[in-house]
């Protein structure tokens, strides 16, 4: 179920699930989605910079999966947005991120997650360079949008082959493929016909969507770019 763990936004997951199952939208859904502290401001940024509306399909697709809209958003505008629109962000950390990655900064969810945890988010806090780095990397892997190939379809679980993000010698990378069981909802439209060989996106152990070949290409391309940027941050942080 979307946001079933409550990590990402308002405790109104039933509304989102109902709309997904019924394949419709509405004002209550829009209101719920606007309560997501990080995701909604990012959608507004991408929409504003590309002349679209925040809930046009291509906008959330860009933020969550990745598409060419990300390349349209100018880095100085993303920098300004990170200071003014992301509530509670430490300005010094924002400056460090942009100084370290330059043109590699993109309003992509995976970039946001990796860049956030490449440095402490509170004084002396845990991150990808501290003794808890492996556990933080596991959380980053769950929080980013990953993708995998369906190997087996169960009643409410899919066995998916995917490459987890791991940290080794202070560098992030995609590890060798592993099989992981993830939840899914057969009542949500794309999953009624899901079958072995399909690619799905995954968030916190849950399959979100069935991906097209174009989307698989995009999510891999932008994820790899995000990993390169995060590694640049980690390298500079270590020096």
């Amino acid at each position: 179920m979307p946001n079933s763990l409550g990590y990402c936004g308002p405790d109104d997951r039933g509304t989102i699930l109902r709309h997904l199952q019924e394949s419709k939208g509405g004002e209550d859904l829009v209101s719920t989605l606007q309560g997501f502290e990080a995701a909604y401001p990012f959608l507004k940024l991408i929409a504003r910079e590309t002349g679209r509306k925040a809930f046009d399909y291509s906008v959330p697709e860009a933020y969550w999966i990745g598409n060419s809209l990300l390349d349209v958003v100018k880095v100085p505008e993303f920098y300004r947005f990170s200071h003014t629109d992301l509530r509670g962000k430490d300005p010094a950390q924002v400056r460090r991120v942009f100084r370290a990655v330059g043109d590699g900064a993109r309003p992509h969810h995976t970039f946001y997650v990796m860049s956030t945890f490449a440095a402490p988010t509170v004084k002396d806090g845990q991150n990808l360079l501290t003794e808890s780095s492996k556990k933080v990397a596991e959380l980053v892997d769950n929080c980013r949008i990953s993708w995998g190939k369906v190997r087996k379809v169960g009643k409410d679980k899919l066995a998916v082959e995917y490459r987890p993000v791991r940290i080794e010698d202070a560098k992030l990378d995609l590890a060798q493929p592993v099989i992981r069981k993830v939840g899914y909802d057969r009542l949500v439209r794309p999953f009624g016909k899901v079958r072995e060989g399909d690619f799905v996106s995954i968030h916190w152990g849950y399959a979100c969507d069935v991906l097209s070949p174009r989307q698989v290409g995009n999510i891999e391309r932008y994820t790899r770019a995000d990993i390169r940027s995060a590694n640049e941050m980690l390298r500079k942080k270590k020096q």
Binding site: Q34, T121, V122, D124, G125
Partner: protein, 75 residues
């Protein structure tokens, strides 16, 4: 990431009350030196660090502003 207050702690596991007032959640406090009453920043089920009351207040205000804005749209 979420911020909440530790309401109980035992063997490096704690129960944390988050700003949205949902039921208490169990959080791994193993990586931080958090005591009952402290505000902690939580990623998934892991506390990453302890916030000062001033930092926690700032984060709470930011969170409340987002929720208020969303409610205004609904109205």
């Amino acid at each position: 990431m979420r911020v909440g207050r530790v309401v109980s702690e035992s063997r490096k596991k704690g129960k944390v009350e988050f700003f949205d007032g949902r039921s208490l959640e169990r959080v791994d406090l193993g990586a931080v030196d958090a005591k009952v009453g402290n505000f902690v920043e939580v990623f998934g089920d892991m506390a990453l660090g302890v916030l000062t009351p001033a930092e926690a207040k700032k984060r709470r205000t930011a969170w409340e502003e987002v929720q208020k804005a969303a409610l205004l749209v609904e109205a």
